[in-house]
């Protein structure tokens, strides 16, 4: 009996030792992968920062209106942000493949889904960034046009346009990574509808004459230019 126990124990011990003997190199491998990954990611971060700096990425973001947005969100400058994102993506990739080496069956699916998830995340991010750019561009265009057309509350109008597009882009991005699809859809519908309604009310009540002027300009008939407007500035 005791022999049996001893056998079992020794067997278990041997097994454990075996397991450890088998597992230890994996851990070492994992640690080295993780460490190497960190180093590679860090180097990549530097390279990306350098390349972006060379490309004057920050100035471009400034022009696209991204910079003030980051500032309001208390985020670092754009090139730092991008290089950080690259660092984390790369390092998480290494981390996961390191864990994978350990051979935990539970974690295996996670790795596989992360590999599948990364490109979608990138595309979603891309969608969002494009949306952000578009939102900013149209915000500025709307603001300037509204100011120069003497439309009432140009900032409200331009802000409405900006949020409309941001919401749309955000919803599209979330939809793309398939996060809480139903909720996103519902929330989007509600938010979009609200903004549209707000705009409609704003335009209808406050900007009726703007609309009229717009229509008049499109269909010139016996329109009467407001006095003073016909003075040529040239």
């Amino acid at each position: 009996m005791a022999q049996m126990i001893a056998n079992a124990v020794s067997q278990a011990g041997a097994n454990f030792v075996d397991a450890i003997r088998l597992f230890l190199p994996r851990v070492v491998t994992t640690i080295s992968i993780v460490l190497a990954g960190w180093v590679i990611a860090a180097v990549l971060r530097l390279v990306v920062r350098w390349v972006l700096g060379w490309l004057r990425f920050n100035a471009a973001c400034e022009r696209a209106g991204l910079a003030p947005l980051l500032k309001t969100a208390d985020l670092p400058p754009a090139d730092v942000l991008v290089s950080k994102a690259v660092f984390w993506l790369v390092w998480i990739g290494f981390l996961l493949s390191g864990v994978d080496v350990l051979g935990f069956t539970v974690l295996e699916g996670l790795v596989a889904s992360f590999v599948l998830f990364v490109p979608r995340l990138i595309v979603a991010l891309g969608i969002f960034v494009v949306g952000l750019l578009a939102a900013n561009f149209l915000w500025r265009a709307t603001l300037l046009t509204a100011v120069n057309a003497h439309a009432p509350s140009p900032r409200l109008l331009a802000g409405g346009v900006r949020w409309l597009i941001l919401i749309l882009a955000g919803a599209m991005a979330l939809d793309h990574i398939a996060v809480a699809r139903t909720i996103v859809l519902t929330a989007f519908a509600i938010a979009f509808g609200a903004v549209m309604l707000g705009l409609a009310i704003a335009f209808g009540i406050g900007g009726g004459h703007v609309a009229r002027r717009f229509l008049e300009r499109q269909f010139p008939g016996e329109r009467a230019e407001p006095k003073g407007e016909d003075v040529s500035h040239l």
């Binding site: 500025r140 003075v231 040239l234």
Partner: protein, 425 residues
């Protein structure tokens, strides 16, 4: 596919028959049926009255009018007085109307006119705006004679008008062109001009025709090109310029964008030729004595100033990217008084313009947005200037405009410094 030629075969046939000419007058048109006839008559009168011995041709380059403009130009008969006058001219009078191909706009029309001038070896070319109702034969004489008789290469007009008339020219275009190029053009972007055949031929060789400048800024470009290439320039007083009331001209926002955008783009393109220039020289004015200025235009200064403060607030985040902080602060301070007391001083205006120009050069945002953002400030400056000069006599206004020009010249080193600090992408 082969590129369509500047001169369609039919036009070449007609030009061949006309042969070499001394004077070519060009009329770029697009739906000008209502106003074209008197202009054509004036041109023929000018030929008969002032250039009876010269070989002349009138070329109408049309952008595809649908109101029969071309037919009017082609078939216009002269009334009895003109017929007598025409007999006065020794030579056959030629009048050609041809459609141009390519991007619609004055640029393509001018290009065709210049190509014709080159082909016909014209000594002098004059171009008129078909919308102007105050064209007289003397206009053509004034634009052509300096080229024909005195060897000038480019003749810019001087219109008889009140110094408050045309504020976009007097507040921005004229002083900026003067400070940049160092020549005192009264109307750097006029639809009428005269030039030598060799100038036309040289312009034809330039790349400008394929650029957006050709569409809206060709008048400015011609002035800039004449200065940049050191052609002999002069001015010709023409008299009052009135545009037909019914003519379809774009609204202020559009005009402003086109003019200022073109001006900024032009300065960008030709910076090699103006950065090193300092001061300015007057241009000889040839021909008729400058007629007395007209009445002050009915510009409502207060109305222009009305939304100055609100506009500044609305545009703050955009102006932040363009203007220096102290300039922005000064603007805000200026706007925080009652409308009729708003003062937009010369120094501030010049700083504003130069910072916008530098921002345009650096490309801090989309370039149309930069010019659009300048419009509210321009209106405020104009409003302030008009209010300040209500009831002032023309000479005093003239003196203050001169002071503004000098301020532009004085502040030029700042612009040059900002300009050379950043090389545009």
């Amino acid at each position: 596919m082969a590129q369509p030629s500047l001169l369609p075969d039919e036009l070449v046939q007609e030009l061949m028959a006309v042969g070499q000419v001394d004077i070519l007058v060009g009329l770029p048109t697009l739906n000008n049926a209502a106003t074209i006839a008197p202009v054509v008559r004036a041109v023929h009168r000018a030929f008969a009255r002032h250039f009876p011995r010269d070989r002349t041709v009138l070329i109408n380059s049309d952008g595809g009018s649908e109101d029969g403009t071309r037919a009017i130009v082609r078939d216009l008969s002269m009334d009895e007085a003109d017929t007598l006058l025409m007999r006065h001219s020794l030579r056959t009078v030629h009048r050609i109307s041809a459609p141009y191909h390519g991007v619609p706009g004055k640029g393509s029309a001018l290009r065709q006119i210049f190509a014709a001038a080159d082909l016909l070896q014209a000594r002098a070319v004059a171009v008129l705006d078909p919308d102007v109702t105050s064209v007289t034969p003397e206009w053509i004489q004034a634009l052509v004679s300096p080229v024909r008789n005195q060897g000038y290469d480019f003749v810019a007009p001087i219109y008889a008008r009140h110094p408050l008339d045309g504020p976009l020219v007097s507040q921005l275009v004229r002083p900026l062109v003067r400070a940049a190029y160092g020549l005192q053009f009264a109307e750097p972007q006029a639809a009428e001009f005269g030039c030598a055949g060799r100038f036309a031929a040289d312009c034809l060789e330039q790349a400008v025709w394929e650029t957006p400048l050709a569409q809206y800024g060709i008048d400015l470009w011609l002035t800039g090109h004449a200065v940049a290439r050191e052609y002999r320039c002069c001015q010709a007083p023409l008299g009052p310029r009135t545009v037909a009331p019914g003519s379809q001209r774009p609204g202020l926002a559009e005009t402003f964008g086109q003019v200022v955008g073109s001006l900024f783009t032009l300065l960008e393109a030709q910076d090699a030729s103006w950065l090193s220039r300092t001061g300015s020289e007057p241009l000889p004015a040839l021909g008729l004595a400058p007629p007395p200025p007209g009445d002050a235009p009915p510009i409502d200064g207060e109305r222009l100033l009305q939304s100055f403060g609100a506009n500044l607030r609305d545009l703050r985040s955009i102006l932040d990217a363009i203007l220096a902080p102290d300039t922005e602060t000064a603007l805000e301070e200026a706007s925080q008084v009652r409308t009729e007391r708003v003062r937009f001083p010369d120094e501030l205006w010049v700083a504003t313009v130069y910072q916008f120009l530098a921002a345009h050069h650096e490309g801090v945002m989309r370039r149309e947005h930069i010019t659009q953002a300048l419009l509210p400030l321009y209106l405020a400056r104009t409003g302030s200037f008009v209010l300040q000069h209500a009831g002032t006599d023309a000479a005093a206004v003239e003196a203050d405009l001169e002071a503004l020009c000098l301020q532009f010249e004085r502040a030029k080193p700042y612009l040059v410094q900002r300009w050379t600090r950043t090389t545009p992408r």
